[in-house]
Point group: D2
Chain length 100, copies 4
């Protein structure tokens, strides 16, 4: 189980708005029943088996091309912890408990 | 107004747990009344005047050193949009409206 | 053909030095005859077929675990351009020609 | 002394080519006599006093706006090591010595 942040954006589309590409990527994610994910203002955080996550991110990377983009920039950040089960919720709770 | 994601982590601390450093960075953020921020599983997203955000991130970067770290890796991603007011909430809503 | 930057680093190893993990990752890269790559001070830039690059990066991500790490952070940045053949050399030359 | 990678790119310009913006950012860097820097296929790596680097990156971030862009994405990665003097050359040599 890994936690992975992904941000996918096309260059040269002529519009500063990128949300329709993000929405298209989320439609790919919706089809993966074994992944949890969370939309943030700067990307999407996905939790699940690392190989499944990466396979899904690879599909998401094609979305802007399918919609006409000619250049796509994709940022993937993997946090892979194997000494304990890392979850999206657990990471946030761990920080919040220390702030109390 | 810009939206900025920041992830700050020390190397070589001998522990795989990093949440106490994240909590320390949030204590710095709590003191800035003119910034909005959101904790995500992979970092912190901050909204506000870009110069104030960067000044604050610079302070946050010192937190792990203050707690004994000798090497710190900080990732900063700036999304700066000047054709309309970008907000953390607005970005998420824009995607969600296209998913309906 | 895509150009991909990758930075792989373990947390909690007790040492601030990370070069031996980078060297281990490069030994994986050396075995891929169809990829070009370049070491930079902040990561490794790889050029080649995107699926082959990602498959290789997936192997590189295991290197710190094989050497005893319990938590690994991997950053992958993909620049995928399909209107022309993007190469590492071509990108640098394009900037340099504009600086003359 | 820190080592910092920066990648600055505009969205919505209508062109997939970004090298003229990179060149503009390098003209800002050329004016800073106390910074070393290196162009890579995926960004620019800068070595120097962290506050001076960040002040310079802040100026570089304005370059695409000055040239008409309405949305700019800037990625900054800081590697700040205080147990020994980190240099761009030293980091590369450290890996290469382990590969021999």
């Amino acid at each position: 189980m890994a936690i992975v942040e992904v941000t996918i954006a096309p260059f040269g589309t002529g519009s500063t708005s990128l949300s329709r590409y993000v929405a298209g990527c989320h439609r790919v994610l919706e089809q993966e029943k074994n992944l949890k994910y969370m939309l943030t203002p700067m990307g999407t955080v996905i939790e699940g088996d690392l190989d499944l996550v990466l396979k899904t991110v690879r599909k998401m990377h094609e979305v802007p091309f399918d919609e006409g983009a000619k250049r796509v920039s994709t940022l993937i950040r993997i946090d892979d912890r194997r000494d304990k089960k890392g979850t999206m919720e657990g990471k946030i709770e761990s920080v919040q408990s220390k702030l109390k």
